[in-house]
Subunit: 188 residues, 2 copies
Amino acid sequence: MAVGIKAKAALTPTEYAVLGMLGDLGRPASGYDLRKAIDQSVGLIWGPSKTQLYTVLGRLVESGLLNRQVVEQRERPDKHLYEVTRAGRSALRQWLARDEDYRDLQRASDIVLLKTFLGRQGDRRAIVRQLAALRDAYAARLSTYDAIWQRRRPRRNDYAGLALQFGMLRARAAVEWVENALHELSGG
Amino acid sequence: MAVGIKAKAALTPTEYAVLGMLGDLGRPASGYDLRKAIDQSVGLIWGPSKTQLYTVLGRLVESGLLNRQVVEQRERPDKHLYEVTRAGRSALRQWLARDEDYRDLQRASDIVLLKTFLGRQGDRRAIVRQLAALRDAYAARLSTYDAIWQRRRPRRNDYAGLALQFGMLRARAAVEWVENALHELSGG
DNA sequence: TCATTCATGTAAGCCGTTACATGATTGT
DNA sequence: ACAATCATGTAACGGCTTACATGAATGA
């Protein structure tokens, strides 16, 4: 066992996103670099604010999931280069394989999407399993929506009805996407 | 001006959700009642946890947006009945009419959806305006996605590509829904 | 006998946002 | 002369989650 390192049971999704993004880059990067990389890719799915990024990097170093090298610079603040440790890769892989709680569907969906984005760093079957679970959860949600939709009487300017439709559309889009993703990942 | 009441500049979306839900019910309700009502309706869009609900109700009373009556009960904890005040209705109407920041699209989208749900308590044109803005923001996001999609080379097990597709699907679904909603609200 | 309904909260803790701080170099 | 790029953070604040607490009545 390693000494002097606090291994937390689980990290926040933001921490995994940062860890995963650094792993995806495949080379050491500074917070500054990382931020730019994130903005152009995962950022659309999951992104910490600028200051959060630095805080998170610090936390990950403390947990032993990242290595930090300090590169001294003249006339500039020192640059910190971060690299994923073996423990970091292991933690990421475990998280990628761990099932989510699908009762908070919005949250679960965001997380599974993030996991999919980082999927090549983990076990394909685990991702597939979670995608299937996500599909089922959305399907269940869809029938909930349908039930509500049925026992609703039509009215003019039906704001609540419109909001409901949005939920249904979203759920349907999610199911479609998952079906397709499963096909790509199982067949390919 | 009212005395002894702290009027905050703006509330959190959660607070507006609670305020709006209570307004939507149209009758005084306890936290307990409210929670059940929320679970079956807005809950799918926006829902505070159980304890948050009580905290929020307290805050809204302090701000003068809700009235609280205590109903004494034997053998049970006293029941607190909440009712929206005139100031509360006014605050809700102002929020429903206020434009959002669409740079955080996920957030903006959730909020506009919530506003749509509560729309009948506000000015229809303001809702329409915000829906139009949301559509534009999603359209912009779509072209961002398209640009990224174009300059991406095909590969096997393209996890990142799958995640990207999800974003695109979602964005397209959102645009479609908004178009339809605008049609319903403008035409009706 | 055990879970559910009714009915409310407090306490602890933490993640994340916003504002503030520094400062040289390079391009317009 | 001004903005952007590079490069890092701290401080304050606050909302939200999770765990804990109480307790009678009712139905399976």
